[in-house]
Amino acid sequence: MTQNIVGHNLVEIDNLSFGYKGRLLHQGINMVFPRGKVVAIMGGSGSGKTTLLRLIGGQIRPAKGEVRVDGHVVHQQSREGIYQLRRKMGMLFQHGALFTDLSVYENVAFPMREHTDFPETIIHDLVLLKLHAVGLRGAHKLKPAELSGGMARRVALARAIALDPDIVMYDEPFAGLDPISMGVICDLIRTLNDALGTTSIIVSHDVKETFSIADYVYFVANGTVAAEGTPDDLNKSTLPFVHQFVHGEKDGPVPFHYVAGDYKQALLGLEA
């Protein structure tokens, strides 16, 4: 990526390897996330996209390599150090992860109450401002159980940007949404990114929506970065994996079938 200049990248992943129970999920991954850009990490289910977000957030430690956030190596930080870094981050979870015992208003106010000494009047104004930005000011009294999937995602987005973070991470922000909600979320991510000057990291496998808002895209497959580039570059890519993924082809380098023994043998009950 051309923007790889010292101090310009807010997040850098350098030669990162990570695995669960002896199985390597990532091997030697390199990525950079420049300030103010929307960068997407794409790949099939189980390719370790969400794990990359957890590595950036310091929830898990890499086996090799490092993740740097604002120049700080995440896994070398103390617990307090990681918490300091996380105060610069906001994260939108796949299903919102709203606190079900709190109202929409209290959910958005939560980070403010925990990390600031703002008086109640300022918190009130800020919460309404954030909710207004995602179009849900009128829903501030509702409980998460009363919200649709798209609304919950927007409230979670308001909560993620409550303290104006430098980085906002989105874990599958479009999954399971109807086309209208998807368009709204898509538009919000780009608009908020540009308005607040944040750096956005989107993990998704929704090609059309992600390509419409991303400045740069990484494709992760088989534990490595299989391809990278701008959405335009990747649309034109002739790499078999990228072509299969972007055009949603059933078969290709990523097989339709999970690894299995001989079908005939299995039907005859002879499979070991």
Binding site: G57, Q59, R86, M91, F93, H95, L98, E114
Partner: protein
Amino acid sequence: MIVNSRLHLFCTIGHRFTQRIWRLGAGARLFWLTIISSGESFRRFHLTIREVYFTGVMSLIIIVVSAFFVGMVLALQGYNTLQRYGSSEAIGVLVALALVRELGPVVTALLFAGRAGTAITAEIGLMKATEQLSAMEMMAVSPISRVIAPRFWAGVIAMPILNVLFCMVGILGGYLVAVPLIGVDAGAFWSQMQANVDWRLDILNGVIKSAVFGVACTMIALFEGYDAPPTAEGVSSATTRTVVTSSLAVLGLDFALTSFMISI
């Protein structure tokens, strides 16, 4: 073949044993982290008060109703035995001592484990399954300070209060059966109780027992929820384990505490 199956059995037993040890260690670690992260629970005491309401106040109905029936049954059974020896006036002492020394702390703890303990486990387990705890972590808020510690101290505060209420209501139930129903003299009922129930040996020891049960039951419920696999099956198994482990812990601790209290 036989060697293989024996080896398999040996491995299974070993695996289960190491898992139990691992869980014990993880539970002890969570307990330690809870204690050192408790500052928030006292600085923002409203968080703890809120949980006292959910664990304590919401358990009141089951505690009060159970205590009433336990007290009535105690009076009926006690009267049948005592009248054979011509000491039916001692019914008040029997009801009171049985309640404040043993039945109060133990039955309150068992009911607490069934009502509040399961609710705590299910709540924490679901918070984990729905990524609410991860979200909190990512907001640089420690779930142990914010979620676990207030619930822990709420349980520790609520249990002795519930125990005292259980004993009071139980004695009232015993009185209603012994005095108006059976016809034992009310003066004898209360005066014998007053003369023979010791503040330190009986009442205080009972309250200490219930505080210990409060620590055990609440910690088990919190650990099971926090350690639950984030699936429907995982939360359901964790809830069951809360009741089983808490009940066994209460009965085991009761024996240990009673032995200790009698010996001093």
